[in-house]
């Protein structure tokens, strides 16, 4: 199949970017979206042009590295998928496809479709961990955790930090990401002890990075490749309000 691609090209963080059109032929419907971009890049290399840069790593939907705005939707037209798991059969022959980087003030564009997601790392560094003395691993059955709790914590932990929630949010809010981390740790006994400080620190860091407010539009849940529930945002709010009232 044949596509008309309109791709955001930007030299570096400071440069002003713009949309460049590319006609790409010989696309197989079985290709993933990233493979389609590889195809275009090979041609660009042959022509001696600079390739289109984009983030990618595992290409099996579990790392969260790839992510772009495709026809105005985070990770493309499907809900609950990463860009690498989007296949060309989701597009029609001859279609025009717009490809842009995820946009938010906290996610500056590094080049083309690549963005700097360090803001997420800073949020994790501010409290998304459990303090533990080093030493031997404790006996695994010494802390009893009901199965439904481990499952619920794992549902939250499934977040891969791709940033689609921020990209699709009208306010560029990182509430879904931050709440998933808070929810994951507060559900488990190891994480409970530090929960009050954690939620305050992580929410403050989220603000400091320049993310917006959550308007509860629930768009993030639809675009999240792991379908992380927005109920976690409710839990983050609960933990935050509790910390405000009860923290010493």
């Amino acid at each position: 199949m044949k596509l008309k691609l309109k791709i955001w090209r930007q030299e570096n963080r400071e440069a002003k970017g713009n949309i460049i059109s590319y006609d790409v032929e010989g696309i197989s419907e079985h290709m993933s979206f990233l493979e389609m971009l590889d195809l275009l890049n090979e041609r660009l290399i042959k022509q001696g042009e600079r390739v289109i840069e984009f983030d990618h790593d595992c290409r099996e939907g579990i790392c969260g590295a790839c992510g772009m705005m495709i026809n105005g939707r985070a990770h493309g037209p499907l809900s609950g998928t990463t860009t690498c798991q989007l296949h060309m059969r989701s597009f029609k022959d001859g279609e025009t496809v717009y490809i842009e980087p995820f946009r938010a003030a906290a996610f500056p564009v590094l080049r083309d479709l690549k963005i700097d997601r360090s803001a997420f790392d800073h949020i994790i560094q501010s409290g998304g961990y459990v303090s533990a003395s080093t030493g031997q691993a404790p006996e695994s059955n010494s802390i009893l955790i009901p199965h439904n709790i481990t499952e619920a914590a794992f549902d939250a932990a499934a977040c891969i930090g791709c940033g689609a929630c921020v990209a699709t949010c009208k306010n560029s809010s990182a509430a879904l990401f931050t709440s998933a981390k808070i929810s994951h740790l507060v559900l488990l006994p190891q994480g409970k002890t530090e929960s009050a400080d954690r939620v305050i620190q992580m929410v403050n860091q989220m603000d400091e990075e320049g993310f917006g407010h959550c308007s509860n539009t629930d768009a993030c849940e639809v675009e999240c490749p792991q379908e992380i529930s927005t109920l976690h945002i409710g839990r983050m709010n609960y933990e935050y309000n509790k910390a405000l009232l009860l923290r010493k």
Binding site: S172, S173, N204, S215, N216, L231, Y240
Partner: protein, 221 residues
């Protein structure tokens, strides 16, 4: 303690829920307008007089003014922060496919409601408090006649109906959103609150919408 996004949202939620509560009382009071004219005049004017004299009502009314102002001011602050967080615009934006229109446009709906409130305050609240109203048979200010006369005008009825529709969509998202901001995360109760929000928004909106139409078409006599 510095103010964070979540504290701003908390203020929005608490003031919003207070306004939600107030709307119930306001609607119940207004439903008296639906009685036959003679009874309605006596009842409604007596009720208005009762509200204007009572000290408890006075305190609540100050909380109400404060809530309206805080809700609007914080909405503005939040909108500014969000505009800054957005960064550059998407060239091709299709994000609206994954969320509801009213959840994305609470600001626009809120602005419509605020403009409506200014008109509403000017036409009834201001006139009642500072204007020279004729008295009814019981010696109470005759607000009833003012209300009935204003709803004889078609454009005024239309203005009210449109504002109530905006209010309805605002409530539909606002009620649920406030519950989320307060920390409701249990799946079952979150679902229950959605349903309660629907029932509440429908009842308030249709209730308020009924009154001007009822008066305009003289259904009370």
């Amino acid at each position: 303690m510095k103010q964070t996004t979540l504290i701003y949202k908390l203020i929005m939620a608490l003031t919003g829920l207070f306004l939600c509560f107030f709307l119930i009382i306001h609607l119940l009071g207004n439903l008296q307008l639906l009685s036959p004219p003679e009874l309605a005049r006596e009842q409604f004017n007596w009720y208005s007089h009762l509200l204007s004299g009572n000290i408890v009502i006075k305190i609540i009314s100050y909380v109400l003014y404060l809530s309206i102002i805080a809700h609007a001011v914080y909405a503005l602050i939040i909108t500014r922060v969000n505009a800054k967080a957005k960064g550059s615009k998407y060239v091709y934006d299709n994000r609206s496919e994954v969320s509801s229109w009213n959840s994305r446009n609470m600001g626009i709906l809120g602005t419509i409601i605020l403009i409506f409130l200014i008109i509403h305050f000017k036409d009834y609240w201001y006139i009642y408090k500072f204007g020279n109203l004729p008295l009814d048979a019981d010696g109470n200010k005759n607000l009833y006649t003012i209300v009935i006369t204003s709803f004889q005008q078609a454009w005024y009825v239309i203005l009210y109906e449109l504002s109530f529709i905006a209010l309805g969509f605002h409530l539909l998202h606002g009620f649920f959103s406030a519950a989320r901001t307060l920390g409701l995360y249990h799946r079952r109760y979150a679902q229950a609150i959605r349903i309660v929000g629907w029932i509440y928004s429908l009842a308030i909106t249709l209730g308020f919408m009924l009154i001007p139409i009822y008066i305009y078409f003289n259904l009370n006599s």
